[in-house]
């Protein structure tokens, strides 16, 4: 039996999905600002959601990576994910309370845009510490 290792193919899949996300984000931002600025709402909605498809592929690749890992790695991933979800959730709640109290003025669009990147970064940081705990 072979010890579970993330195969280069799976890592390539993650990299391609990340690149596709960056490319579709840049493309849809350009399209919505220039050629499609006055396009019908349905078309603008479709174009603006292009990066979601790439994110869907990256989530699939990450799930495949997790499934290929062993039980300790899965536990580490689960702990990191739980910490990231709670941290970002609490951050959002704190921001909404501060905005509600007129202490801060943040656009909802800005907050919504940063939720997924914040989750990803917090997950990576939490994963680093969770991994160190079992070393």
């Amino acid at each position: 039996m072979n010890a579970p290792q993330p195969s280069p193919r799976r890592l390539h899949g993650c990299l391609i999905a990340a690149l596709a996300y960056l490319a579709t984000t840049a493309l849809c931002l350009w399209l919505l600002r220039q050629p499609l600025a006055e396009a019908p709402t349905l078309l603008r909605a479709g174009v603006s959601l292009l990066p979601v498809i790439a994110i869907g592929f990256s989530i699939r690749e990450v799930l495949r990576l997790v499934r290929a890992s062993d039980e300790l790695q899965r536990r580490i991933d689960l702990e990191a994910l739980a910490v990231a979800a709670i941290t970002v959730g609490l951050g959002c709640l704190s921001l909404s309370l501060l905005v509600g109290a007129n202490v801060l003025a943040i656009e909802g669009k800005t907050v919504l845009t940063w939720i997924l990147p914040a989750l990803s970064v917090t997950y990576l940081i939490a994963r680093f510490f969770a991994q160190a705990r079992y070393r």
Partner: protein
């Protein structure tokens, strides 16, 4: 939980990487089990017991 995995592995002359290979887990998992930082799942504990030809309760014992 206490365990005799390190002792049994040493007696078999295997490295952590070799044992990990035989159990289809990562070396980090073996290290975490040996140092008591991680208690394996029941299927993995049975696989360890089967590999060393011992009863599961002869390898894993609850903390006193």
């Amino acid at each position: 939980m206490n365990n005799r995995v390190r002792e049994l592995r040493g007696a078999s002359g295997w490295s952590q990487a070799e044992l990990a290979e035989r159990l289809a887990v990562s070396r980090q998992t073996i290290n975490a089990i040996e140092t008591g930082k991680y208690d394996p799942s029941l299927p993995l504990a049975f696989a360890i017991a089967r590999l060393f030809g011992e009863a599961i309760e002869a390898i894993f014992t609850p903390d006193p």
